[in-house]
């Protein structure tokens, strides 16, 4: 097969990073990105992009850890280079605090982030309502800069990107040899995956440049993540809610909860409210599928359903998806050489 034509559906953090991995592992591939939305209108643009993983119930921990580690290592190298500010990647230190001591004091990712250790008594005094905490340093991917940087890198390798709403993966079968489905929450409609459900998250992005450390409540609901220009305050986790409209009650509640962790936020300026739908699933759907109609086959690689930790595992799952694309190419080449006999 001369130059396999690969279509990547979705231009969020998963689609763009997957496209980049495919280009890196298969230089002969012709990769095109098709998406209804591009940055700054993707789900990832709303997210803070903090590298702090959650746990997928349906994926073995060692796999999640591998994904996280690959992602962390990849971004760590960028943060350490002259490209860091353009790519929007920076280190940030802070604390995860718990109102009551958690059963699991050492999450699976504690040896991937930097300097992980329990907080001292003196550090906990800043959080009078919390009894236990962990201090560490991790990475943050600021969006839109990170997505724009991925787009720039893709364009430099000749990848074409088109705004296009794909209604059905099959519609691509005549133009492309392989389709990679990174449609995120869009996969609910695109491939009819009823196991994929939104977990609505509302956040505030505020101007508070004196906040240099992150603070996160271990319950995952309240967090303060300082980005390059704005601080993200969160949040909410509303299962099965599809609403993209900001809720004023939630805005006040988020602000109050964050101010109780960091009182100086009362002076925050220019509060912007955003909503994103976490594309949640029991486990990330990262697998091959072959669609076929009337004797024609279309190999598909699915890479969606990253829920609350798209950024934390994006590079790891992108690499695995690229590997699956390689398998599809090998299978196509095998069958095309059989067809020649």
């Amino acid at each position: 097969m001369a130059a396999p034509k690969v279509a990547v559906v979705g231009a969020g953090v998963i689609g763009l990073s997957t496209a980049l991995c495919i280009v890196e592992t298969c230089p002969s591939c012709s990769v095109t990105v098709l998406s209804e939305q591009f940055s700054p209108n993707t789900t990832g643009d709303v997210a803070a992009g903090m590298l702090i993983p959650h746990t997928y119930p349906g994926t073995p921990i060692h796999v999640q850890k591998q994904w996280f580690k690959e992602t962390f290592t990849y971004l760590f190298a960028i943060s350490n280079s002259s490209k860091a500010s353009e790519a929007g990647i920076h280190l940030v230190s802070g604390w995860q605090v718990f109102k009551s001591t958690p059963k699991e004091k050492l999450p699976f990712w504690s040896d991937v982030v930097l300097g992980f250790r329990p907080m001292s008594e003196a550090e906990l005094q800043k959080f009078p309502q919390h009894q236990f905490g962990q201090a560490f340093t991790t990475l943050k991917c600021d969006c839109p800069p990170y997505l724009l940087w991925l787009e720039k890198r893709l364009k430099a390798t000749g990848v074409q990107m088109y705004t296009r709403k794909v209604a059905d993966l099959w519609e691509l079968h005549s133009e492309y040899d392989i389709v990679v489905n990174c449609a995120g929450i869009g996969a609910h409609q695109l491939v009819g995956d009823k196991k994929l459900f939104p977990v609505r998250g509302q956040i505030l992005k505020v101007h508070a440049p004196w906040v240099k450390n992150f603070i996160r409540d271990g319950d995952g609901l309240t967090y303060i993540y300082p980005g390059i220009h704005r601080v993200t305050l969160g949040g909410t986790r509303e299962k099965e809610s599809w609403s993209l409209s900001p809720d004023p009650g939630s805005t006040k509640d988020i602000f109050d909860r964050c101010c109780s962790l960091e009182p100086s936020l009362r002076e925050a300026q220019d509060i912007k409210v955003k909503v994103g739908l976490r594309p949640s699933r029991h486990c990330v759907r990262l697998e091959r599928e072959v669609l076929s109609q009337g004797g024609v086959k279309l190999p598909v690689v699915h890479n969606y359903g990253h829920g609350a930790c798209g950024f934390s595992v994006h590079r790891g799952t992108a690499k695995e998806a690229a590997h699956l694309v390689g398998e599809c190419i090998a299978a196509l080449q095998g069958s095309s050489s059989r067809a020649k006999l």
Partner: protein
């Protein structure tokens, strides 16, 4: 009781505030006046980045470590208060880097979460092989000095934009006690060969992705003569110049290159940072802080002076402990005056 504070940097303003807070209700006749020829944003304290961090060793001055601790604890207590942002006070974490293992500093238990750097963290800084991580405080002079000034103005302290030529000048006008917080130029009021300038130069850049302070150390060339990066609330400070005996407050192109090249080597992403300013200042360096009383006589004029100067590159770090100590000395003076007036026979 007229008290004149000389100097409107962090030392002068905080000493004035501390004395007023403690004594204004005890001494109804207390009149506090502040004299300076430089006010915020033109003082040495305004140019400093504002990071709370003492030198690596206390040079044998245990008292200074105690004053540093008092200051840190005082500021920590204000961190969650509504005034914090206006004061320019916030937490900042970061790195101290060395090319060889060094003993832990005397302030390791004062800051929060002090620990050694892990091998992975050291990968970030290939020129360094050892280091510390801790969380400290920033107290930005450009915010703190106006805040102190507001507190003093509210309290009725009078400000005079004036250069005082001698202590006698004030005593002849009826001032009873002078608090001498004149920093680098204390020598003009009273020669002090131990007070020497430690010239610093800094470049202000916009690099809002930097969220940690990074202070490197060259044990041979001395404190602050090795690159450092300190992110503030509006801009990031790049520095690494400390020239003993250099009185120039002009920005030097060569020092600019030294700072820029060494900081970009430390943090390659800084190459993309936009320069928004440059400043030189003189650290009022002394083997130890001069914080003591002196009775000054000139002819038939007599007055008490409390000296509070020579805080080198750690003025912000130590200011409140010194202000409290100055207030204690002032309290001693009040005690003595009270006893003296009680002992006066009534004629």
């Amino acid at each position: 009781m007229r008290v004149a504070v000389l100097g409107a940097g962090v030392i002068g303003l905080s000493s004035a505030l501390c004395i007023h807070e403690q004594f204004h209700s005890l001494v109804p006749s207390l009149e506090l006046e502040l004299y300076a020829d430089s006010f915020t944003p033109h003082t040495t304290s305004d140019g400093a980045a504002g990071l709370w961090q003492p030198y690596l060793s206390d040079r044998g001055n245990l008292q200074e470590t105690l004053w540093n601790k008092e200051t840190f604890d005082y500021l920590l207590g204000h961190l969650n208060s509504p005034a914090a942002k206006e004061m320019g006070l916030f937490l900042l974490s970061g790195y101290n880097l060395f090319t060889e293992p060094v003993p832990d500093p005397p302030w390791k238990y004062i800051v929060l979460g002090f620990r050694n750097l892990t091998p992975k963290e050291l990968e970030l800084f290939p020129d360094y092989s050892y280091g510390w991580f801790n969380t400290a405080l920033m107290l930005e002079g450009r915010n703190y000095l106006p805040w102190l000034t507001n507190r003093l103005t509210q309290r009725g302290v009078k400000f005079f934009h004036k250069k005082i030529e001698s202590f006698q000048e004030l005593f002849s006008q009826g001032v009873d006690v002078v608090i001498n917080c004149t920093g680098m130029r204390s020598g003009e009021l009273q020669p002090d060969p131990e007070l020497q300038p430690g010239r610093g130069q800094i470049i202000k850049v916009l690099a809002p992705w930097v969220k940690h302070f990074i202070i490197t150390h060259d044990m041979r060339s001395g404190i602050y003569s090795s690159p450092y990066v300190i992110p503030g609330s509006e801009f990031t400070v790049l520095g690494g110049i400390n020239q003993q005996g250099n009185w120039s407050q002009e920005n030097s192109a060569q020092d600019h290159r030294t700072i820029w090249d060494s900081c970009c080597r430390l943090l390659p992403a800084l190459q993309k940072a936009k320069v928004v300013g440059e400043w030189s200042g003189l650290r009022p360096t002394r083997p130890q802080v001069r914080l003591e009383r002196e009775s000054v006589r000139h002819g038939n004029l007599q007055g008490e002076v409390i000296h509070n100067y020579g805080h080198g590159g750690f003025g912000i770090t130590i200011h409140w402990g010194c202000a409290m100590a100055a207030a204690r000395l002032f309290g001693n003076i009040l005690q003595e005056k009270r006893k003296a007036s009680l002992a006066q026979p009534r004629l």
